[in-house]
Amino acid sequence: MVEYRIDRRSGVATYLQIVQQTKQALRLGLLEPGDRLPTAREVVEATAINPNTVLKAYRELEREGLVEARRGLGTFVRRTLGTHPVDSPLRAELAAWAERARAAGLDREDVDALFASVLDEHFPKDDH
């Protein structure tokens, strides 16, 4: 069962935070196909947000084909995200690169900035 953390200061719409955290959980393998998402009641009881916000997030996830609502049963994960699990070769390559960056004298913020700029170049943002 995933738990959502709502950050009121983040400026990101609450429903988007739920969408993003669900996707993150799918990427990290915390959720797998067949798993049930918490019910809206469970989410709002823990987070004190509006039930419709949760439903909006679940509808968005459903629209993207990630989950499906089964009437009377709950909302279930349909497929996972990211074909590259935590121990994939790509991760190993990135780890090796980070090692080299540190050896080259870059600190955490330098790496962050560098990574972000490459990310923006290759994955242009289409939504805000």
């Binding site: 019910t39 809206a40 009641r41 709002v44 039930p51 419709n52 439903l55 009377g72 049963l73 909302t75």
Partner: protein, 335 residues
Amino acid sequence: MSSEKQGGRTTTPKGRGELRDQPRRRSRRQTPHRGTPEVALEATELTKRYSRKATAALDNCSFRLPAGRISALVGPNGAGKSTLLALAGGLLRPTTGTLNVFGGAPGEFRDRVAYLAQNKPLYGQLTIAETLRMGAELNPDRWDAPYAARIIEEGSLQPGQKIRRLSGGQRTRVALALALGKRPDLMLLDEPMADLDPLARHELMGTLMADAAERGTTVLMSSHIVSELADACDHLLLLGGGRIRLGGGIDDLLAAHTLVTGRGTPADLAPHTVVEARASGRGLTALIRRDGPVEGGWATEDPSLEELLLAHLRSPDAPALLTPGTTSTRTAVQA
């Protein structure tokens, strides 16, 4: 337990279908069906004056609150929030105009409505257990004893404690248990969270939201702290000087407004309605109610809920806006 016995039609509020997957599903009591979707609260030219000479606490208010909404009732001190809630709870009589609750007079469906006053009145001489017993006695057909007891337990309160020995926040918890224990269809909460610590506030708001998620309860709660309600509410009523200034779904209201910045005068912003314009360097920043796309060299931005409310409160002369569906059917669209 008692509410399980109630038979009747299961009203599923729009968009809450998926919420019905709860093991403890509760059916709502059959209600006289007058138009769809059901209207929880409808005010028509509602005016309340406390004495003949006094200015009106509520001045010719017309609006409707669809059932199943969780609505924030916002406004500065003295805006008429408490008056409106007390009128809806059947505790006051309107001077003129009408206020309908579930299509009837406010006193007609008293058992379906819970009201929590700002000062959280309780009987100091009773214990918590006796206070809950009173809830059971006064609501013989609806009282959910285990549910009320759970709310008390979550606050680590002992049933034998006398009410007069409780702190302000603990009293609020007992008062909320009493209000929620009757499993109302409409909750009227006057500054419900004011004297709660952050943890209790989060817990009780969560309990309230869970109740709404499970049963489609309509909630109207007042506050002058906007951030307290921004996440919990999907609907807004803004009162100012006894009048409704804004009414509708929060998303709809936000979408109807734009924050523009640029060089020019408020007159250049026609045909949009300028709610508030303030000088900003050589130009101005204005909150406008759009009428078509914004043209010209204006930089546009979506306003936050707080910006929207503050702009309206600072400009008492700005016209009111009620989104469709929140307008009382018996009056003109603009209040």
